[in-house]
Amino acid sequence: MIPALGLLAGILIGVVLQPDVPIWLQPYLPIAVIAALDAVFGGVRAVLDGIFDDKVFVISFLSNVIVAALIVYLGDQLGVGAQLSTGVVVVLGVRIFSNVASIRRHLFHA
């Protein structure tokens, strides 16, 4: 319950304040969102598996976002930013889908 409320609070703060993101940071936002989603679904599945750990959750979130941003940055420097972004999205996307599949089995036994 508390995480859901926190998530909602964060969304509200963001929508109300509409903070300005510096231009140089903007290209990393979409990839950061995917990385964060991966951490969230990983966390939810861990809760359902009964092996949740708050420190692992926080670290996986932060490291996911930072590493994803780093890869995109590196790609941009090498001139293959678009390709590397796609790679990151594919890998994280596959993980998100299998985590969601596992969550679904837990919740609906289907």
Binding site: M1, G10, A36, F52, D54
Partner: protein
């Protein structure tokens, strides 16, 4: 003879370990490890979901989602506005160019008339020289029979043609090759979409747009050439340009037509000054 010990069968997808790893173990192994550690120490297998740490992370997550959504949407909106703004600015400048061009032509007509009046009978030679020169530079509007060569982009089925698909687009190069052949065929005066060609008229491109006399044109492109109605069409058909037009149609689907016309009128030119050049051996 004993049979060799059976080796475990290789997994058929052994060469794709990275993929299988990704698909079969999507969960961060950190969770399992931490849980096992706690269980070994006699603690619970899972920590409570409601800890402060999790709550703070959740807020950060929500913030990230909201900020990303608003930023990306705002960026899209502003890019669209900027483009629209640029196009409307180009159109208004283009209108200014047209307006000033019309005014320049009017002034030239006035000047020619005033000169004729001011130059007395003694200056008849100068007056005739001016008239001849004005005609030679394309300075005056002319009319006569000739040829209309029309080029249009390949028709697209969808209402919004995708950018970058320039296969069926008329290029500036297509226009100047045709114009080159029209001059070769003996055309006396040429204009493209109402832009009279002079010695200083460039036919250039900017992206997919064609600019003549530094003014962007819209398709279809109509090249109007005044010349001998009996000779011009046949002469043009024999030039490189005539064959070039056909190949544009055959290879790229560009719509072209060449039509004779009894009466074509072309506006006078507007670029009729020089800044740096002076007559050699005289004062400008």
């Amino acid at each position: 003879m004993t049979a060799p010990a059976p080796t475990p069968a290789r997994r058929p997808d052994a060469s794709m370990t990275l993929l299988t790893e990704m698909l079969e173990r999507p969960l961060d192994p950190g969770y399992a490890a931490a849980s096992a550690r706690r269980a070994a120490a006699g603690g619970p297998r899972s920590t409570p979901v409601g800890s402060t740490l999790v709550a703070v992370t959740a807020i950060l997550l929500g913030l990230l989602f909201a900020v990303s959504a608003t930023t990306v949407r705002r960026g899209e909106a502003s890019a669209g506005t900027v483009r629209k703004d640029l196009i409307s600015q180009i159109e208004s400048r283009r209108a200014v160019v047209d307006e000033r061009s019309a005014a320049i032509r009017d002034r030239q007509t006035e000047i020619t008339r005033l000169e004729s009046n001011a130059l007395g009978a003694t200056e008849n030679g100068l007056r005739q020289e001016l008239q001849a020169l004005a005609a030679a530079t394309g300075n005056v509007a002319v009319e006569g029979p000739g040829l209309l060569v029309t080029l249009n982009d390949k028709p697209t089925d969808d209402a919004t043609p995708t950018a970058g698909d320039d296969q069926g687009k008329v290029l500036s190069r297509d226009l100047f090759i045709v114009v080159n052949s029209l001059w070769q065929s003996g055309a006396e005066a040429i204009a493209i979409n109402g832009q009279r060609l002079t010695v200083r008229s460039p036919i250039r491109f900017a992206g997919e747009a064609i600019l003549v006399n530094f003014r962007p044109l819209s398709p279809p492109y109509v090249i109007s050439a005044i010349g001998d109605p009996a000779a011009l069409p046949a002469a043009f058909a024999e030039t490189v340009g005539g064959a070039y037009l056909k190949s544009l149609t055959d290879n790229f689907g560009i719509v072209t037509s060449v039509d004779g016309a009894d009466h074509i009128s072309l506006p006078g030119a507007t670029r009729v000054t020089v800044d740096k050049a002076v007559v050699q051996g005289g004062t400008k």
